[in-house]
């Protein structure tokens, strides 16, 4: 049930995520040494426009990519079709985006007060 447009979006977001994921993993490997704490995470990310852009991009990409991906699985394995399928894709995409955006907002601009 993928058209050229959805296909391209999925591939572009995938390409975008690849370096982001590597970056994220690298940071995690570095960061987890000696254990994690909220303060540590926040200390790194809070107020940083760079981190905001980094994770912001990631969230947008993941929302688009994941929604399209799950759509394919719903269609092929779940037999979902038509408006329900479109609806599910948007729901998943927007849901992922909302949750992700909240998280990014939280770690960069949240908890400052």
């Amino acid at each position: 049930m993928l058209t050229l447009r959805l296909y391209m979006l999925q591939r572009i977001t995938a390409l975008l995520m690849a370096p982001l994921v590597l970056g994220h993993l690298a940071v995690m490997i570095y960061a987890v040494q000696g254990g994690l704490s909220a303060a540590e995470i926040l200390g790194r990310t809070q107020g940083s426009v760079l981190w905001f852009v980094f994770y912001g991009l990631f969230v947008v990409a993941v929302a688009v990519h994941g929604a399209i991906g799950v759509r394919a699985i719903l269609a092929e394995w779940g037999g979902v079709r038509g408006r329900v399928l479109e609806g599910a894709m948007w729901l998943i995409g927007l849901g992922l985006f909302a949750l992700g955006a909240r998280a990014v907002w939280a770690v960069t601009f949240g908890g400052l007060t």
Binding site: L22, L36, L42, V107
Partner: protein, 114 residues
């Protein structure tokens, strides 16, 4: 079921693995986001969660998730290499092997870090 097993072959298994890892990621990420957003509402609880990461079970779970991400990412890069690089079949096999190797090294590092 037996029929499915009879039909199985490496590329097909790679696809199934990629699909399952993608699905698992899509299910896990909301959770991950929720935990992080605790930073906004309740940093103390976030710390509580993070403290848990010292326990082996949780460590293993974390590792599982990173594993999923890595598997899915390399699987996805492999798919895109097959699609976009007009390589010959042996070149693709080589590339797949190379990425598998780098993946192995990366996880080793990670395990050490853990």
């Amino acid at each position: 079921m037996k029929a499915v097993i009879n039909r199985a072959h490496p590329l097909w298994l790679a696809h199934v693995l990629h699909r399952l890892s993608g699905l698992a990621l899509a299910l896990f990420l909301p959770l991950h986001f929720w935990v992080l957003s605790l930073a906004l509402t309740d940093p103390a609880r976030l710390d509580g969660f993070l403290a848990l990461t010292d326990q082996t079970v949780v460590k293993l779970a974390e590792y599982g998730l990173v594993f999923l991400l890595a598997v899915h990412m390399f699987g996805g890069l492999r798919v895109m290499a097959m699609e976009f690089l007009p390589w010959t079949a042996p070149q693709k096999t080589l590339a797949a092997m190379a990425s598998a190797l780098s993946f192995l090294i990366a996880t080793l590092f990670f395990l050490q870090a853990l």
